[in-house]
């Protein structure tokens, strides 16, 4: 899997989140994995296809998801990860991936993205590739979001 394909996703993350009132996220880790990703509590899967095909997962703890949802809703307190908070996280994943798709187009790779699938639970794994995939950790004021990116060769 080509590491340069990861930049459009990281760039989307660092550009889009500040527009929604977050401090600029910092990249704190990047690894190449081949085991299933382990859910941290909330994981959103977005598929893409056309000139390259694959999946991206935004994986975070429920606390982080509530922090993000609250910030997106102008600081409204989010006590539980309810339907409104789930919608906010779905929408964020959609915006991030759409922005990454625009960035990929600039590299000459056009992609269409699917609707996000949000999964919640304390005990599950996510498989997005039969081979290796890239795992990037982004930090937003102490909250970590793991981005898993798999592109089919």
């Amino acid at each position: 899997m080509d590491v340069k394909l990861v930049n459009p996703f990281i760039d989307a993350f660092t550009t889009v989140l500040p527009q929604m009132g977050f401090p600029t996220p910092q990249r704190t880790g990047m690894t190449v994995n081949n085991q299933n990703a382990v859910s941290q509590g909330v994981a959103v899967i977005v598929g893409f296809t056309k000139e390259i095909r694959g999946n991206v997962v935004y994986n975070m703890s429920e606390d982080t998801a509530k922090f993000i949802a609250s910030t997106m809703m102008m600081g409204m307190p989010v006590e539980s990860f309810d339907e409104m908070a789930q919608s906010a996280i779905s929408e964020m994943s959609n915006m991030l991936t759409a922005n990454a798709a625009t960035n990929l187009t600039a590299l000459g790779l056009e992609v269409d993205i699917s609707t996000p699938s949000l999964t919640v639970g304390s005990d599950f794994q996510i498989k997005i590739s039969n081979e290796q995939y890239l795992c990037v950790v982004m930090d937003i004021s102490g909250h970590q979001v793991e981005i898993d990116i798999a592109v089919q060769q």
């Binding site: 609707t115 999964t119 005990d123 794994q125 997005i128």
Partner: protein, 287 residues
């Protein structure tokens, strides 16, 4: 669902043929074709169609006048105008005459079918469109694929998903749909059903070794095949707006909530001797 009768009014033979060929593989049946206004009124009275497609230019009176004449004999007649021109003035005159919807030539199959569906299901709108135009096809393909992939018969039930979450205990293969409409399919089942089906798919006996990885991969591939087939079949009917699928992502574990607040979704359950196979088909809101 009963066939829905359509009368096509158009002075061009080619246009009439185009509309009837678009409806050929669908639940709509062309019961009458008229090439002028007088014939349209006579055939309407005789065949009592559920919905009429109306051209604007007719040799003896225009489509708006023809609509008035049909409404004189049936005030509830449902009429969709299909014309080369579609401007504000025409739409206003048409609405006053009782035309329910307006399409511009050339009409795409998808547009035509969705419009006719909405007109025939005034109160149900998008839900009925998704259910009849897409989900029934997905359900049929699921049933046929269970036979062709696993060699098992099933009973199928379709219902609209009223809750915003699905509960998964076991495995779920999630396949995204891009194009028009956008959405996603989740094929899911418990672990026991996953192992039984995977063994059947791979032609293995119940005592043969099968790793969790292999069983999950089998369900993932089945989800990919079933969704791919269903999407191809829908594309075959709606030739204009192509849907494509993204590679499957699989979630594995217990007590997983799959949330889809932004989707209109349907539950398809296939009851088999190996256990229930669930397929949730969801589309983004707004046709």
């Amino acid at each position: 669902m009963e066939k829905v009768k359509v009368m096509v009014v158009d002075d061009s033979r080619i246009s009439r043929m185009m509309v009837s060929s678009m409806l050929a593989k669908t639940n709509f049946e062309v019961c009458a074709m008229a090439e002028n206004s007088a014939e349209a009124v006579a055939l309407y009275a005789k065949t009592k169609p559920d919905v009429v497609t109306m051209d604007m230019n007719l040799p003896d009176a225009d489509g708006i006048e023809c609509t008035r004449r049909i409404h004189a004999i049936d005030p509830k007649a449902k009429i969709v105008m299909i014309s080369a021109m579609k401007d504000a003035k025409l739409i206003m005159q048409g609405r006053m005459a009782g035309i329910g919807s307006f399409l511009q030539k050339p009409v795409s199959t998808n547009e035509l079918i969705d419009t006719l569906m909405i007109m025939c299901n005034e109160n149900v709108g998008a839900v009925a469109v998704y259910r009849e135009s897409y989900v029934t096809t997905f359900a049929k393909v699921l049933q046929q694929s269970l036979v062709s992939i696993f060699g098992i018969q099933s009973e199928i039930e379709i219902s609209q998903n009223e809750e915003s979450v699905l509960r998964v205990d076991g495995v779920a293969a999630v396949i995204g749909i891009v194009g028009e409409p956008k959405g996603r399919v989740a094929l899911y089942m418990d672990s026991e059903t996953m192992y039984s089906l995977s063994r059947a798919m791979l032609g293995m006996d119940p005592q043969d070794d099968l790793s969790a990885d292999e069983a999950e991969a089998a369900i993932e591939e089945a989800g990919n095949i079933i969704t791919g087939r269903a999407v191809s079949r829908v594309n075959d009917v709606f030739k204009d707006k192509e849907m494509r699928i993204t590679p499957p992502g699989t979630v594995i574990g217990s007590d997983i909530i799959l949330s889809n607040p932004e989707l209109i979704s349907f539950n398809v359950v296939a009851k088999t001797s190996y256990g229930n196979v669930f397929m949730n088909v969801g589309f983004a809101r707004g046709v």
